[in-house]
């Protein structure tokens, strides 16, 4: 690492002496380390000199921690801290209240000097709609933090913040997040709108219970020598494995930690909620018997309604990322096969973003939801793409492949006897990298319904679906980098070259280049087909100026007849299918009148550049 840094600095033509001295004597903060003070006196003099200069390493205005998980109030407090530190750029808002009365907090990131957020193409980033899929919240926080701390420091970050707006929602399901953080919600996807899961006409009356108070919902097993279905594994006694057919084991599993709260003879059968918050959006929404957990009607859930109302009110959103876990996937819709594949113009855009993501995010695969994962009806990415015309992606954060990453270790894992063979890999990681912290031990417990049992044997909720804490900053950064790439490839319209030719008789021929230099079109092909996005508008304004004809120029460089635009009002031309990505179009006007005319290309998702041209 240091060698690499050294090489970089040398390459940057710093004085050799300075470059060499860095590894020897400076800590990251630029303060002299103990080693420096013991250096030979000549070098010490130089070092003293350096120490007086500013450090080459950056310091941060706001210091946040990304190696742990934040509950809702911590997330919101950190957002407030950032807002206070960067009041010009950040605006903390609430999109609404969750069922449990918690704010669905969002941050608007925008540079007001370059215009209001609503006038810019915007990237919407949300996380944690599933209560137990927490780490996206930290990515959101990291993204806000990173953009602010590096604005004015890294040119590309500066440009992104100047050109785009960001709407960032660290947790769409704050009830679920706090249930995960503070309660027995280690596995709970749901929000907390009550549902009668067991059809006994009571709601949420019998949830899981952390009987031994260790913060983990664990398995319950009972020791029944010779009569059980499970046994301790010979590979590792902590593994409880089912016995082969025809044999008996010493244990039976009695389900997850809980008691019979409602006295119906069943344990933990009706916990909080009991639905899937990401099946409640009104695109390809299907009732519960087709799509489990969809609830009774779309946007019935206050959380889905709040974020949808926000998106509907912000048609400038051109990109959407919803962070989930886990598995290492970059997912796009369609969520169900019968929706049909998108038009090729759209899939090409998604494909390029997805493949770029596979390079930015090692071990992540770019997949279509229905074919690559499973069928999802009423998910937010279908809603985003199909009804809102937003390029919508969902990252399934964290892949278990990331526990052992090198090709050598992957090879070693193929050996079933290896200490990191798939069967025991998690135990190895827990033992040697987490120092045993992530696995609970079996302990006896006197259960009110089951008698004497053992509770334990569970990996904690902070293992498996979320990365190890020490790896989370990398997860945050890589996923942010991918999402910022998507944000940067949102459409960016500009007016390019213009040309005026005087024809006499008060007539002018005017050519205007319209440019979108980014990957994404201003309007997706599917959105144009279904007329779900307001059209782009090409307007020409000038005092006493009349447009006699307008046409698209097939080629600027060879003779061609402009294709007439068959619309009545040529001062306000509707461009219904928008402007494709990485494309320049030339419009040719035949104008009567003179003086300044202003051409504006108004695109909700691509910006609204304008240029004034003098006809004389």
């Amino acid at each position: 690492m240091m060698t690499r840094l050294l090489r970089l600095i040398t390459a940057a033509a710093f004085p050799a002496a300075l470059a060499l001295a860095v590894p020897a004597g400076m800590s990251a903060q630029g303060r002299p380390s103990p080693a420096t003070t013991q250096a030979p006196s000549a070098a010490a003099a130089v070092a003293q000199d350096w120490a007086a200069r500013p450090s080459s390493e950056r310091t941060y205005t706001v210091k946040l921690d990304f190696n742990r998980w934040h509950d809702v109030s911590e997330l919101q407090a950190d957002m407030r801290t950032l807002e206070k530190a960067y009041p010009k750029f950040l605006k903390y808002i609430s999109l609404g209240k969750s069922y449990g009365g918690r704010d669905i907090a969002a941050m608007i990131v925008n540079n007001p000097d370059t215009g209001p957020d609503t006038a810019k193409p915007a990237m919407y980033i949300e996380a944690n709609i599933h209560g137990n899929e927490v780490q996206g919240g930290e990515i959101c926080l990291y993204t806000i933090w990173y953009l602010m701390e590096h604005y004015g420091r890294i040119d590309r970050i500066t440009r992104l913040v100047d050109e785009r707006a960001f709407y960032i929602v660290p947790t769409v399901n704050p009830d679920g997040r706090d249930y995960f953080m503070h309660g027995p919600g280690g596995n709970a996807r749901s929000g907390h709108v009550p549902v009668d899961d067991d059809n006994d006409y009571l709601f949420d009356e019998d949830g899981p219970e952390d009987l031994n108070g260790n913060g983990v919902i664990e398995q319950i097993r009972k020791y029944v020598p010779g009569e059980g279905t499970h046994r301790k594994s010979s590979a590792d006694p902590r593994i409880l494995e089912p016995v082969p057919p025809g044999e008996t084991g010493d244990y039976v599993l009695l389900g997850l930690e809980g008691i019979d709260h409602d006295g119906d003879g069943r344990v933990g059968e009706d916990g909080p909620g009991g639905y899937d918050p990401n099946r409640n959006f009104p695109a390809d929404w299907q009732p519960g018997y087709v799509q489990g957990g969809a609830m009774d009607y779309p946007l019935q859930l206050p959380e889905a309604k709040a974020v949808s109302d926000f998106l509907l009110a912000h048609p400038n959103v051109a990109g959407l990322q919803t962070y989930h876990n886990s598995g290492g996937m970059i997912l796009r819709s369609p969520g169900a096969e019968q929706i049909g594949e998108y038009p090729p113009q759209d899939t090409m855009v998604y494909d390029e973003i997805g493949r770029m993501g596979e390079r930015i995010l090692p071990f992540y695969r770019y997949l279509v939801i229905w074919s690559g994962l499973y069928t999802v009806h009423g998910g937010v990415t279908d809603w985003g793409n199909d009804t809102l015309g937003i390029i919508s992606l969902s990252n399934e954060l964290w892949s278990s492949q990331q526990y052992f990453t090198s090709p050598e270790l992957k090879e070693q894992q193929r050996d079933p006897e290896s200490p990191i063979a798939p069967r025991v890999a998690n135990y190895f990681f827990n033992d040697y990298l987490e120092f045993g912290d992530q696995l609970t031990e079996w302990r006896t417990f006197n259960h009110p319904q089951f008698g004497e049992v053992e509770i334990g044997g569970a990996f904690k909720k902070t293992f498996g679906r979320v990365p190890p804490r020490f790896m989370n900053e990398e997860l945050c950064h890589r996923n942010m980098a991918f999402t910022l790439y998507q944000a940067d490839e949102m459409p960016r319209m500009s007016i390019g070259a213009t040309k005026v030719e005087r024809l006499g008789g008060g007539l002018f021929k005017v050519w205007v280049d319209l440019v979108n230099d980014k990957l994404a079109p201003t309007i997706l092909a599917k959105a144009a087909q279904n007329a779900v996005v307001p059209p782009d508008l090409l307007t020409l304004d000038g005092k006493g100026v009349e447009v006699l004809s307008a046409g698209w120029v097939p080629s600027k460089w060879r003779p061609s007849v402009a294709r007439p635009i068959d619309q009545k009002d040529l001062k306000r031309i509707i461009v219904r299918n928008g402007h494709p990505g990485r494309t320049t179009r030339t419009v040719q006007y035949l104008v009567k009148g003179s003086g300044p005319v202003t051409v504006t290309y108004a695109s909700l998702k691509g910006g609204s550049p304008q240029k004034t041209i003098l006809l004389q």
């Binding site: 006409y201 090409m348 059209p535 508008l537 097939p554 219904r576 179009r585």
Partner: protein, 673 residues
């Protein structure tokens, strides 16, 4: 000028009433003299509801279940006697009307039903029995903003609420609505001689128009437009009028995606959500009777009435079908930029050979996991096991109302009553509330006196080809770029009933058609204005309301007699000695309907019957569990038996509870001796 119609209305009342006897009946939506039958505007409806409820304090409650965009209340009336079981635990009938803004006849019938039930309670034993044991919830006007337009000075074809929608997606909402050019208080259609026009005067009736068929040597020569001007100068007339969303296109079953009058998305409207929240908060609703512009009662639940249309309206709407396509930039020639004009455009990074594994140019990498997984498809036809129940009810409906044939009806994509069966899981019906004379496939003829007269479905535009709605509504028009909704094929095949409707109006002396009259149009020049009047094809004359109301009120009482009725038929305990008791119980459904329809079970919309013996679980030695779930129990005395052996103190007692959503609950205390 345009306020004329309404203002004059009151003054002309007497005249209208007397002229009715002399000859022509005024078209439905007119005010009437005191005491004479009339359609109710919002204020009159609200007053009538308040008065009815106030006059029957122990029998009716009025509540607002939501506010519309224009601030009107969506009223709900609960008709049930206050004594006896809590209303929420009784099976209930939901009557709901006027989802389509122009279908006021449903609203009027619903109002009559309330009055009938409240009045008859004192004298009619059958009514009393139903209102004691069950409940009838009435939503008389789900779309009051839309309905109010029937009382506007100028009436146009429109079914929607007041939500602004950019129907032609040109970046402006509601910028090109209809005008009453000839000042007759109604917006109809314009025909103009045009060598390129595809329409000709009908040979069957010179008032009607037909599409000329060149294959038969027919020449056109006429173009047809809705009455109005091109307000926004886009070359189309009335392509984006005020409002809105058709509430009966906004529910989730077979929702017609991307059609402008269906709303931006499912359940997008305050009216829709209010109704959904209401029915979900009243899970005791065991049957639904909706009034609307689709039918599954007159034609029967197995074969909903085929959609019909009015050609005159359809032709006019087609004139702006292209409005929603204007501005599609075609792919431009080779050498132009690097656009997406042709498949496989020159996009860096999009090359098929790209990533590992040689994936195709389009679509993300396929993986094995999702493909081949079993997926469930939503039901789109009535479950065979439910059909007999529904047919029985529909037959009774025809018998009780005398209705045999429908007029204007449309395919029910996104309609409330379809939600009622397919997602809410109860018997759910829709009727226009009246009909045209005739048999299963009627022709024009005399209307039996007293029976329901004409039956028209949609505002004339309704049920037309594909998405389009009435004038002033937004319609993608035939062949629009959006994918057609589920109902579209059926609607495109709809039969034109212009002639049938006109002949019926003639026979009934209903003033529902404006004769063609010359007019100087600002941009089209010499035109003729005429055609069907808004509302006239969808609503019968007010004089028919009372009879229709009475017939439907009686039908609602019949419906309420069918509900499942869950009871504990037998509950007994036998001592086995040693502190053990055998308990036997029979649970019975004495009603006609099952506790859940087959589709209610399949769709998991209706909870199972719960049978619960209220004892500590560990006191049960053998037999059933403490709680059993029975998916459904058929009616007509069907029984299910349960048995437990429990340990209990002799001399004590245990309670047996049975609960259902649609058939009530029962409780028995069993003494252990």
């Amino acid at each position: 000028m345009r306020t004329l119609a309404l203002r004059v209305g009151a003054a002309v009342l007497v005249l209208a009433a007397s002229s009715a006897a002399a000859g022509r009946t005024d078209p439905p939506p007119q005010a009437a003299p005191a005491g004479a039958p009339a359609y109710h505007d919002y204020a009159a409806l609200s007053a009538a509801l308040k008065a009815a409820v106030a006059a029957h304090p122990g029998l009716a409650k009025l509540a607002s279940i939501g506010k519309t965009r224009q601030g009107r209340d969506i009223w709900a009336v609960e008709v049930a006697s206050a004594k006896g079981r809590p209303v929420g635990e009784r099976p209930a009938l939901l009557v709901a009307a006027n989802f389509e803004g122009d279908h006021l006849i449903g609203s009027e019938i619903a109002l009559c039903m309330i009055d009938y039930l409240l009045t008859a309670y004192a004298s009619d034993a059958e009514v009393r029995q139903r209102l004691d044991a069950s409940a009838i919830y009435v939503l008389p006007r789900v779309n009051p903003d839309g309905a109010e337009l029937m009382f506007a000075p100028v009436k146009a074809f429109r079914r929607t609420n007041a939500t602004p929608i950019d129907a032609d997606n040109d970046g402006r909402a509601d910028e090109d609505g209809p005008e009453d050019l000839n000042g007759d208080g109604v917006v109809t259609v314009m025909r103009v001689r045009d060598p390129k026009g595809p329409y000709a005067v009908s040979a069957e009736d010179a008032r009607l128009m037909k599409r000329a068929d060149p294959a038969k040597g027919e020449a056109g020569g006429w173009a047809i437009y809705p009455e109005g001007i091109d307000n926004d100068g886009d070359g189309f007339i009335n392509e984006d009028g005020p409002g809105g969303v058709d509430i009966n296109r906004n529910f989730m079953h077979q929702y017609p995606y991307f059609e402008p009058d269906a709303g931006r998305y499912m359940a997008s409207e305050a009216e829709t959500r209010a109704v959904l929240d209401y029915v979900l908060a009243h899970r005791n609703i065991a049957a639904i009777l909706a009034f609307g512009e689709s039918d599954n009662l007159i034609a029967g639940p197995a074969r909903p009435a085929p959609a019909t249309r009015l050609d005159l309206v359809e032709f006019a709407e087609r004139s702006f079908a292209d409005a929603r396509r204007t501005g599609m930039v075609p792919p431009l020639g080779a050498g132009f930029g690097r656009g997406f004009g042709r498949a496989g455009a020159m996009m860096p990074g999009a090359a098929p050979a790209g990533g590992a594994g040689g994936r195709s140019a389009q679509g993300a990498a396929p993986a094995a996991s999702g493909r081949g997984m079993r997926t469930v498809q939503p039901a789109t036809s009535v479950n065979a096991a439910d059909l007999e129940y529904l047919n029985t009810i529909a037959a009774k409906y025809r018998e009780m109302t005398g209705l045999r044939a429908t007029g204007l009806v449309r395919a029910p994509a996104g309609a409330f009553f379809e939600y009622g069966y397919y997602q809410y899981g109860v018997p759910s019906f829709s009727t226009p509330g009246w009909g045209l004379p005739g048999g299963a496939r009627p022709s024009a003829g005399a209307v039996p006196p007293g029976a329901a007269p004409g039956r028209a479905g949609a505002s004339p535009a309704a049920g037309q080809a594909g998405p389009p709605a009435a004038f002033g509504q937004r319609g993608a028009g035939r062949g629009s770029t959006g994918p057609a909704g589920p109902g579209s094929d059926a609607e495109a095949a709809a039969e034109a009933i212009d002639l049938r409707l006109l002949q019926w109006m003639d026979a009934e002396k209903i003033d529902g058609f404006v004769p063609w009259t010359p007019f100087k149009h600002p941009t089209l020049g010499d035109v003729e204005i005429g055609g069907f009047k808004p509302y006239a094809a969808v609503n019968p004359p007010a004089s028919m309301i009372a009879d229709l109301g009475r017939a439907h009120a009686k039908f609602s009482v019949y419906l309420a007699s069918l509900f499942a009725n869950l009871r504990i038929a037998k509950a007994e305990a036998t001592a086995l000695g040693g502190g053990l008791f055998r308990i036997k119980a029979d649970v019975e459904n004495t009603g006609f309907l099952p506790t859940a329809l087959a589709h209610g079970v399949v769709s998991r919309a209706v909870k199972p019957v719960m049978v619960r013996l209220d004892v500590p679980p560990d006191s049960i030695v053998t037999g059933a569990e403490k709680i059993s779930a029975l998916p459904t129990l058929a009616g007509s005395g069907s029984r299910e038996s349960y048995e437990w052996v429990i340990a209990a103190a002799p001399g004590s007692s245990v309670t047996l509870t049975v609960m259902s959503q649609k058939g009530g609950s029962d409780r028995a205390t069993i003494a252990l001796r």
